[in-house]
């Protein structure tokens, strides 16, 4: 049971990342590697602010803003300086490594016994005793839900429609007299803001910041997106944001299973890679079949 809670906690935090990755990878068709830097960026800012006694909610907002700023940088590098998408992300990610170290001041910053969104006066009093074991999970769920609803709402606004059009059919955007570069930048900002939010939540859940925590974020994010989208392809009623969240939980469940059932850690990355390839091939096969039908 505790294991299930842990899977859901981790899965829901990564669901927020998956929503961000969904915007770039699926909507904008932009493989954005900056998330490997913005995820720990959110954590670094949160840990530093919380350690100096600032309200955790403010820390979360600061993390979101910083994530958006990092997305802006990637966007500007790509759109204004005309650097290729993959490279723009790599440049931002690389720079953020140093930025994160500077923000936190050291490679590992603990925030045990501090006020976080999971541990503060209000939260500790409103939760009845029987809900205590689920407190962290419920709070993470609420944050993820808020992120999902906001994103769902945004995608229905005019700006959201244009965002979707940039990936699918850039000509439409231009014909509507909009600059597709600006829209791409907005998409990157929202995406990285979400990822930094996830970093902020994760750092408060695990109660320490670690500079290496971002490595492989994009891989997990992509896996979650592809699992989710592939699974729910036929169920059109399921919103993509929900689908990627489920994908993220499934991914974390697979990792937990592998650990519980004694998969050697040495093989872990190999198994992840094979699983990832398998999912990609399945997704690709469907896409080509769809094209044939069309």
């Amino acid at each position: 049971m505790d294991m299930l809670i842990s899977i859901l906690e981790q899965g829901l935090i990564f669901a927020i990342i998956a929503m961000g990755v969904y915007i770039t990878y699926k909507i904008l068709d932009f493989p954005d590697l900056s998330v490997d830097g913005t995820y720990p960026l959110g954590a670094a800012i949160t840990a530093t602010m919380i350690a100096s006694g600032i309200n955790p909610l403010l820390a979360m907002l600061a993390a979101i803003a910083a994530g958006a700023a990092a997305g802006l940088v990637t966007g500007l590098i790509h759109v204004k300086l005309k650097v290729r998408d993959l490279l723009s992300g790599i440049i931002t990610m690389t720079a953020l490594y140093s930025v994160n170290l500077h923000i936190a001041g050291k490679a590992n910053l603990p925030i045990f016994n501090t006020t976080t969104i999971f541990n503060n006066g209000i939260v500790n009093t409103i939760f009845p005793a029987f809900l205590e074991p689920y407190k962290t999970l419920i709070i993470i769920f609420l944050v993820a839900l808020a992120a999902k609803l906001l994103l769902d709402w945004y995608l229905k606004t005019k700006s959201g429609y244009l965002l979707r059009a940039v990936g699918d059919n850039p000509a439409v955007v231009t014909s509507l007299a909009n600059d597709k570069g600006t829209i791409k930048i907005i998409g990157l900002m929202i995406s990285n803001a979400l990822v930094a939010l996830a970093g902020s939540v994760m750092c408060q859940q695990q109660r320490f910041f670690e500079v290496q925590m971002g490595i492989g974020t994009i891989v997990i994010g992509l896996a979650a997106v592809i699992i989710g989208i592939t699974l729910f392809r036929k169920l059109r009623r399921v919103k993509p944001t929900t689908a990627v969240a489920v994908g993220s939980i499934l991914y974390k469940a697979c990792v937990a299973l592998a650990i519980t059932y004694g998969l050697s850690a040495t093989d872990m990355k190999l198994v992840t890679a094979v699983l990832f390839l398998l999912i990609l091939v399945i997704a690709m096969e469907r896409r080509s079949r769809r094209k044939k039908l069309a």
């Binding site: 603990p110 045990f112 695990q206 290496q212 937990a256 299973l257 650990i259 399945i282």
Partner: protein
């Protein structure tokens, strides 16, 4: 193909919910190790030996659930939660991130014993149901050794990875003590092992010798450093036996097996109920071991004073 895939996932999910079932020994200990690494492996073996010396023997009255996080923070968290959910009697966290993950997941309900954590205070794991051993380097002994071997040296170079908090702590100690022995510490920070070939040339130009920490990235690329230093005839001092074996001149180092053993004995006290983890202060290993590589020392023209030679172990091949 999709259906097969869904079926696999679904059946895996169901499996996940099944509780693991095995006969329970008197003591169940979860050992979480941050990653596969020779020193950490020695630590773990020492830990198990330490428990055995106190009569808690694997296979007799002890079941060990050993997990390795492969240097991944997310996996560390999952491993720690898995230990808590299977209600082990004690969690042993090897290396800083694993110790922090265990401390966070246990929430004081399960005692946590850590080892191979250089600076438990900086890592924030000194309060509560937790104790363990620190692998802080015997910096003072190392400085004495370097002074004895190189009476005229003034500048010691240290290369470290900026992401390794253990290295930062060790450097702080070096900088604190260096003055007492008439040394200046010159550091060179890198972020990935690919930076080392460039950084080492810059560092060698400024120093009389190099001393190593237990920095994972730097130690992993030690042969590159040794080659560059040997070309210039600059001695490299190590921090543990393995480094001296592959070509460092000498080291005042920790014996990780002994460190693990000391940790195992602490864990035994907690398991037997003789003491609470919260009441035992964390321990630093007091004794350092002197290892030398006589072949390398001869090449560099270094000679060990006779009072030190008595306790030195020559590991040259």
């Amino acid at each position: 193909m999709k259906r097969i895939f869904i079926a696999i996932i679904a059946s895996l999910m169901v499996l996940a919910l099944l509780p693991g079932c095995s006969p329970r020994s008197e003591y169940v200990v979860g050992i979480g190790q941050f990653g596969p690494h020779a020193s950490l492996d020695n630590c773990r073996e020492g830990f198990i030996a330490g428990l055995a010396e106190e009569g808690i023997v694997e296979g007799e009255n002890l079941t060990i659930d050993y997990q390795d996080a492969n240097f991944d923070g997310g996996t560390s968290n999952l491993i720690a939660s898995a230990f808590v959910s299977s209600k082990v009697d004690l969690i042993c966290g090897i290396a800083t991130p694993m110790a922090q993950a265990a401390y966070n997941a246990a929430e004081g309900k399960i005692p946590v014993i850590f080892t191979a954590v250089t600076d438990p205070v900086m890592a924030g794991i000194t309060e509560g149901n937790i104790t363990g051993t620190s692998d802080m380097l015997p910096v003072e002994a190392q400085l004495k050794l370097i002074r004895a071997l190189m009476p005229d040296a003034t500048k010691i170079g240290i290369m470290y990875t900026t992401s390794e908090v253990n290295s930062e702590s060790a450097i702080a100690v070096y900088e604190d003590l260096a003055d007492d022995y008439g040394f200046d510490i010159i550091t060179s920070g890198i972020s990935v092992s690919a930076d080392i070939p460039l950084a080492i040339d810059g560092l060698l130009a400024k120093v009389d010798c190099i001393t190593n920490l237990t920095d994972n990235t730097v130690v992993g690329s030690l042969p590159i450093i040794l080659e560059a230093a040997n070309e210039k005839g600059i001695p490299v001092f190590g921090s543990e036996i393995e480094q001296v074996k592959i070509g460092c001149a000498a080291a005042e180092g920790l014996e990780y097996y002994e460190l693990g053993k000391q940790t195992g004995k602490m864990a035994a006290k907690v398991l037997k109920g003789e003491a609470e983890a919260s009441d035992i202060p964390y321990e630093i290993i007091s004794e350092s071991f002197l290892y030398i590589n006589s072949t390398v020392m001869a090449e560099l023209g270094l000679t060990l004073p006779s009072d030190m030679a008595d306790r030195a172990e020559d590991v040259a091949e």
